[in-house]
Symmetry: C2
Subunit: 408 residues, 2 copies
Amino acid sequence: MPDVSIRAGAIPASPIRKLSAVAEAAAQRGVKVYHLNIGQPDIASPEAGLDALHHVDRTVLEYSPSNGFASLRKAWAEYYSSFGATLDADDFIVTAGASEAALFALLCCLDPGDEIIAPEPLYANYTSFAVASGVRLVPVSAYMEDGFRLPSAEQLAALIGPRTRGILICNPNNPTGYVYSGEELQAIGALAREHNLFLFVDEVYREFVYGDTPFLSALTLEGAENNVVVFDSFSKRFSECGIRVGAVVTRNTSLRSAIMRLCQARLSPPLLGQIVAEASLAAPESYGAQVCAEYKERRDCLMERLAGMAGVTSSVPMGAFYTMARLPVDDAERFCAWCLSDFAYEGKTVMLAPGAGFYLTPGMGHDEVRIAYVLKKENLMTALTVLEEALKAYPGRLDQIDERDTKR
Amino acid sequence: MPDVSIRAGAIPASPIRKLSAVAEAAAQRGVKVYHLNIGQPDIASPEAGLDALHHVDRTVLEYSPSNGFASLRKAWAEYYSSFGATLDADDFIVTAGASEAALFALLCCLDPGDEIIAPEPLYANYTSFAVASGVRLVPVSAYMEDGFRLPSAEQLAALIGPRTRGILICNPNNPTGYVYSGEELQAIGALAREHNLFLFVDEVYREFVYGDTPFLSALTLEGAENNVVVFDSFSKRFSECGIRVGAVVTRNTSLRSAIMRLCQARLSPPLLGQIVAEASLAAPESYGAQVCAEYKERRDCLMERLAGMAGVTSSVPMGAFYTMARLPVDDAERFCAWCLSDFAYEGKTVMLAPGAGFYLTPGMGHDEVRIAYVLKKENLMTALTVLEEALKAYPGRLDQIDERDTKR
């Protein structure tokens, strides 16, 4: 049997989906599994998008242009003006979600062995795309104690070497919920310019900011027009994760031309998703405001409940819809698996994403989990009650271990 | 400004889409452009698929499983039984078209510097995916004079070196229309087994076979179960190129597991496309038969018209809906560009795909074009009349050059 490639062997299993089989087994035993592991919102997609779908009047479901429909790109560019970024339809290349945007950007910006500096914890799938494209992610650790703020420009600069080609951040951040300040963005923008690096910014959670720090798009950074490469998506904003419509947004024309050749090879982004996306842009402003208010309420609920659990710590997420939480357990992945395989409270259990998968530095995050607050409040409350009970019952709970150690 | 990667610089422009800008300019001048360059059929997609779209009753357009819906994979596996291949739903990983299937298979089967042997002319986008993934395609030339049949097993074997990891064919073939015989498939299957190679087979044109050679899926090759990796798609079969639903089909469980990790990183294939695809499988058998008969008629029309053009040669395509044609011109790409920029016949012109882009060996195909016969007969007839007139009027026509040479 021919072997798979070395790089394929090195692609990690997704921490978000690696326990899926155990979760399915739990569901088959009749246990109700609350999914706090994945950023799939239960909020309704805009009616305008669904309506467009119901009225597709084509007889042939044909290819769209390789860079996506011009009308969609134009409307998308106009939307950015509300964030103070002046963009043209041609600055957008529509992709199959932000995932394709990230993979194609890595392939077109870096060669095997090249490096990107990225604060950790980070969105785990970047690691998979980096491994697949032969790119080395160089981590710089952010800490819960600091609210996961960006490490200093000096710390980042110290990691720049001859193979460094870019810096990668997610803003608002998945998995920490941190929202980068204007000063932090200016600092890495300046660093990128000074060292001639790409500045990759995943802004798919742009709509969801709850605190006092306003969201600032990297596309507003003056002087860094050729450095900034933004990944965008309709998935989170409109609760349309399944339509697979995202974009690479950059004013760097050489890069656009390169990505475009790769996009032509894969022919076109999803037709139906683009139809839904464009129609969704006509959703009333109240849609976004309501969704954001809803997530803020869920966040507050999550924070309140976590604060009431002995031994659990978490920073307050300022945006997106995730938090990293530290649990009083021997090993978070073991705990997550145990919740699915060995535990149920009133016939219910929870699925969480083990934290270690969001770190590149070995040993980091082994007592952390990522919690997504995408379930409606009553379900979230139930799930958190289940989590609280699970933490009490878990045999590897840290204070129990301490107790046992003391008794010996 | 940071530079794009070396590999991105090496991704060729698609011969199918590289003249798009010139074609758009022609259209803007009011010239009607007949697209013989791209495999976008004008045949209606099955009503069952469109109907499913109009009745999507979800309120959240959410992620699907990373390997696609189990119900779709099950139905897809059942369909293969009509081709004599016994498959399980788990043998399928649903992808964003056969394009994602091909790219992910290359990334997961080969490392940078590894080689794949492929008969040329070949589907040009394989080259782009190979460059992006650092894989070297090693060509073995097939010739129009031989009807583009597979070069001998000895010729293929002679190219196998220490880095050879696979053989890649497209059956029925894009761009030649050749359908590989049982003997040819057995021969490369044996070669793949003997040398422990992957056998990648793009079977997206499976439905379209017009001659006496029956189509044989590589998934029926006994003993090569761990070697064979098939790329499949709904695009051509159901005239649904825009839904972006394809699959990697393989019984090699290690490979599936590797591809699955990459698929989890990109989260999920298009939701709406999968809904349309699954519903389309319920299209009546007559749909496929009618579509196939329609393409056969178009092929016959194309062959008859090409035979009537002085200096034009082509082999008879046995399947798919393309042919490679040799034109009496100085340079086929120049001719294709000229048709769009400088020529019109009764306000109409044609867009063709220059042949050189389908070859890896420098100098091959410079007098060839790929012609797709995907337009309805009356449009195809008009387009071929335009082509005939263009060949008469083209200043770089070969016999004219000969004449000029003689006069000097």
